[in-house]
C-alpha cells in the first residue's frame, strides 16, 4: 500500500471542473512533482492535499488514513509556499515556533526544536530577525525550517523556488534534494519548471486542464511521453515535433519530411513501433529531441539506428557548452544540438545525424503516441 493515495479526486467550483478525477500514489520517502502549465490545477491539487480547499469527490489517504475532512492542522503535513508566507510581524524564531505555540507546546520545548532546525538549516544567526530583514534565499530557508520543525508525515512545496534568481534557484534545488536524501521524508512538490521536475522527482505527474496526462518516473516521462503535450512540455529545448508521413521502402518503413524548395528527406526506420504500420502513407508527427539530432561526429556511438540527411542550416546559436542549429523540416523550425566546436555556418547545407532509436511518433488526430 502506497503512503500517499489519491483516488478519483474531483474538484468543482460551481459548474467549472478544476480537477477531473485524479488518481495518484506515492511510496513512503518518495518525491512526487506535479508539473504543468499555469491553470492546469496542480496548485489546487496540492491545496486539497493540504486541506486548504475542499474536494467535491474522491478520497485522499496518507499512511492508510483518510484525511478528506480533516482540518489542515490535523493532517500532519507541512507546506512551503511560493511567497514563503512568513508572518511579517514575527521574528524568524516566532515564525518557526508559531505552529507549536498554537498547539500549546511549552516554551522550553519550542526553543529546543527551533535550535535543532536552525542548526540543520544554518539559520541560527537569523533567529531574532524579522522576515523583511532577510534575503530571498534566507527567507526560503526559514520557510523550510518552519516546515521541518513540524516533523510531518508529508511535505508540500508550492513552487518554492520560483521567486529566486536563477543561480540561487539551482543552489536551493540541490539543498532540497539533499534534505530529501538525508531526512527521507515524503514530498509533494508543485512547479511549472520542468527542469526542477526532472532533477528532483522520483515520480512526476504531468498535468493539463485538471487531468494527469502522464504519471511515471522522470526517465519514463522524458523518453516515452504518452502524448504530444507531455513530449512538448518536458525537455529544454523542447522536443522537435515535425509533421511527416510514413512511407515504405521495401524492407521497412521510412519517415518522410517535406522541405521548402528542396527534395523531401526520407529516413529509413529500422525498428519502427508496431502501431506505425496502420499509418503507412498517412501523416504523423515525428518527434526527435535536439540531442538526438547532431552533427555526425557528435552522434551517439552505440546507437543502433542513426540516419544521416543533408540539411539547410538557417540559424546557429552558440551556447557555449553546445551549439544549436536551426533547420526547417516539415514546415517547422527544427533545433539540432551540436558539439560546441562543430564546424558549421548558417546558410550552408550540412549533414545531420538523426538518432532514430530515440525517435517517437504521434498520431496527429488523437495526439497520442504510436506504439
Amino acid at each position: 500500500m502506497a503512503f500517499l493515495e489519491i483516488d478519483g479526486l474531483k474538484k468543482r467550483f460551481g459548474a467549472v471542473e478544476i480537477l477531473k478525477g485524479i488518481d495518484l500514489d506515492l511510496e513512503k520517502g518518495g518525491f512526487l512533482v506535479l508539473v504543468g502549465p499555469s491553470g492546469c490545477g496542480k496548485s489546487t491539487l496540492l491545496n486539497t492535499i493540504a486541506g486548504l480547499e475542499t474536494i467535491t469527490e474522491g478520497e485522499i489517504r496518507v499512511d492508510g488514513r483518510t484525511i478528506n475532512d480533516l482540518h489542515p492542522s490535523k493532517r500532519d503535513i507541512a507546506m512551503v509556499f511560493q511567497s514563503y508566507a512568513l508572518y511579517p510581524n514575527m521574528t524568524v524564531a516566532g515564525n518557526i515556533a508559531f505552529g507549536m505555540e498554537m498547539r500549546g507546546v511549552p516554551a522550553g520545548e519550542r526553543q529546543k526544536a527551533i535550535d535543532k532546525v536552525a542548526k540543520v538549516l544554518q539559520i541560527g544567526h537569523l533567529l531574532k530577525r524579522k522576515p523583511s530583514q532577510l534575503s530571498g534565499g534566507q527567507r526560503q530557508r526559514v520557510a523550510m525550517g518552519r516546515a521541518l520543525v513540524r516533523d510531518p508525515k508529508l511535505f508540500l512545496f508550492d513552487e518554492p523556488l520560483s521567486n529566486l534568481d536563477a543561480k540561487l534557484r539551482v543552489d536551493m534545488r540541490i539543498e532540497i534534494k539533499r534534505l530529501h536524501a538525508t531526512t527521507g521524508t515524503t514530498i509533494v512538490y508543485v512547479t511549472h519548471d520542468q527542469i526542477e521536475a526532472m532533477t528532483l522527482a522520483t515520480k512526476i505527474a504531468v498535468m493539463r486542464d485538471g487531468e494527469v496526462q502522464q504519471f511515471g518516473t522522470p526517465a519514463e516521462i522524458y523518453n516515452n511521453p504518452v502524448n504530444l503535450f507531455v513530449a512538448d512540455f518536458m525537455g529544454s529545448p523542447a522536443m522537435n515535433l515535425i509533421p511527416a508521413t510514413i512511407g515504405s521502402n521495401g524492407s521497412g518503413f521510412s519517415v518522410v519530411m517535406e522541405r521548402e524548395a528542396r527534395q523531401p528527406i526520407s529516413l529509413p526506420l529500422g525498428n519502427a513501433p508496431a502501431g506505425l504500420s496502420a499509418f503507412q502513407g498517412k501523416p504523423i508527427i515525428f518527434g526527435v529531441r535536439p540531442e538526438a539530432l547532431t552533427d555526425p561526429e557528435g552522434a551517439e556511438r552505440n546507437a543502433s539506428n542513426i540516419a544521416r540527411a543533408d540539411c539547410h542550416i538557417e540559424v546557429i546559436e552558440p551556447a557555449g557548452s553546445d551549439t544549436f542549429a536551426v533547420t526547417n523540416l516539415g514546415g517547422k523550425a527544427v533545433v539540432a544540438r551540436l558539439r560546441a566546436d562543430a564546424k558549421i555556418q548558417p546558410g550552408t547545407v550540412t549533414p545531420l545525424a538523426f538518432n532514430l532509436t530515440k525517435a517517437v511518433f504521434f498520431d496527429p488526430a488523437t495526439e497520442k503516441r504510436i506504439v
Binding site: 499555469s38 492546469c40 489546487t44 486548504l52 480547499e53 483518510t66
Partner: protein, 319 residues
C-alpha cells in the same frame, strides 16, 4: 500561477473525521458569517429598512409626528407643484435651483482648479512639500468651521470689503452673503475652498501614477507640453475624473452644514439646498411627509449617480 481556485480560497473549517459534524465544528463553519452578520444586519435595518420607512412616511400625511395611514402621493404632488412655482419662488424651487447652481459650479470649479493646481505642482516644483498641505488642509475642517471663517471673511462690514475700503478702494462692493440672489455663490466659494485641494491631491496622485515612458515617447513624437497634457495626460486621468466626480457629487448633495454655518439659510431661505429643505420641513415646519418626500428625491438622485459607478467598480475585478 492562476487557477480559478487561486483567487478564492475556501478555507475548510475544522471537521471531525466522523460523519455528522459536531455542534462545535458547525459553529466553526459558520463563524465568519456570524462575525459579519451584525454589521450586515445593521446595514439592512438602519439603512435599507429606514429608507423604506422614509418612503412609507412620504406617502402619509405625517405632520409633527409620524402618522401611518397611507394617504397617497400628496407630498410628491406638492413638491411637483412647487417645482414650477418660481415667482415668488417656493422654498423647494429655491432649493433645487440652488442645488443645480451649486452642484454645477462646485463640481466643475473643483475639478478644473484641482487639475490645474495638480499640473502646476507636477512641474518639479521646489517647496511642493510645503504647498501641498496648504492646499489640502481645509478638507480637515468641518463645514461649520469653514462656514464660520468665510462668514466673517465675506461679511461686508468686517471682512474683505471693509479691508479693501480701509486700503483706499472705497468703491469696492461685495455683499453677496447678504444678497438673496447671490448668497448661493458664497456657498460655492467656501465649498470650493474646502474641497479643491483634495481634488488636487487626487489628480496629483494620478499624474504621478502615469508611466513616464509614455510621456517620453510622446515628446519624441514631437508633442508640445500643451499637446502632451491635452492629448495624453488628461485622457489618462479619466478614472480620476470619475472618482473625483463621485466624491464631489456625494459631498454636494450632503452639503447641509455649510449652508447653515455660512448663511444660516440665507435671507428668507435663499441659500437652501434640498438637504436644508428636508431638515427644515421635517423638524421645524412640521411637514414630515414633505420632508420625507424630499429626502426620497435626494436619495434617488444620488442613487442614479452612485449605483452604476459601484457596479462597474465591483464588477471590474471579477472574483
Amino acid at each position: 500561477m492562476s487557477t480559478v481556485a487561486e483567487t478564492s480560497i475556501t478555507l475548510t473549517p475544522e471537521h471531525d473525521a466522523r460523519p455528522g459534524a459536531t455542534v462545535r465544528s458547525r459553529l466553526q463553519d459558520a463563524l465568519p458569517k456570524l462575525v459579519l452578520a451584525p454589521s450586515f444586519a445593521a446595514t439592512i435595518v438602519f439603512v435599507y429598512g429606514f429608507i423604506l420607512w422614509t418612503i412609507y412616511l412620504s406617502f402619509t400625511n405625517s405632520k409633527t409626528f409620524p402618522s401611518y395611514a397611507i394617504t397617497g402621493p400628496r407630498a410628491y404632488q406638492r413638491l411637483w407643484r412647487w417645482t414650477f412655482e418660481s415667482d415668488p419662488p417656493s422654498s423647494w424651487y429655491t432649493s433645487i435651483t440652488n442645488m443645480g447652481i451649486f452642484g454645477f459650479l462646485y463640481i466643475s470649479i473643483c475639478l478644473a482648479l484641482g487639475l490645474f493646481l495638480a499640473i502646476l505642482l507636477d512641474q518639479k516644483i521646489r517647496g511642493e512639500g510645503v504647498l501641498r498641505p496648504i492646499y489640502l488642509y481645509p478638507m480637515a475642517l468641518s463645514f461649520i468651521v469653514t462656514g464660520v471663517a468665510w462668514k466673517w471673511f465675506l461679511d461686508p462690514g468686517l471682512g474683505l470689503e471693509q479691508t479693501l475700503h480701509q486700503w483706499g478702494w472705497t468703491s469696492f462692493h461685495f455683499d453677496w452673503i447678504k444678497n438673496k440672489d447671490f448668497v448661493i455663490y458664497t456657498v460655492v466659494i467656501a465649498g470650493v475652498w474646502q474641497a479643491s485641494g483634495f481634488i488636487m491631491a487626487m489628480f496629483l496622485a494620478g499624474l504621478r501614477g502615469i508611466d513616464g515612458e509614455i510621456l517620453k515617447a510622446a515628446q519624441i513624437d514631437g508633442a508640445t507640453t500643451f499637446q502632451l497634457y491635452r492629448r495624453i495626460v488628461i485622457p489618462l486621468l479619466r478614472p480620476i475624473f470619475l472618482s473625483a466626480l463621485i466624491v464631489l457629487a456625494h459631498l454636494a448633495i450632503k452639503s447641509y452644514d455649510l449652508v447653515v454655518a455660512l448663511t444660516s439659510g440665507g435671507p428668507g431661505g435663499s441659500a437652501w439646498l434640498p438637504s436644508n429643505f428636508m431638515y427644515e420641513y421635517t423638524f421645524k415646519r412640521n411637514e414630515m411627509a414633505v420632508g420625507s418626500a424630499s429626502a426620497v428625491i435626494m436619495l434617488m438622485t444620488i442613487t442614479a449617480i452612485i449605483v452604476p459607478y459601484l457596479y462597474s467598480e465591483l464588477r471590474e475585478k471579477p472574483r
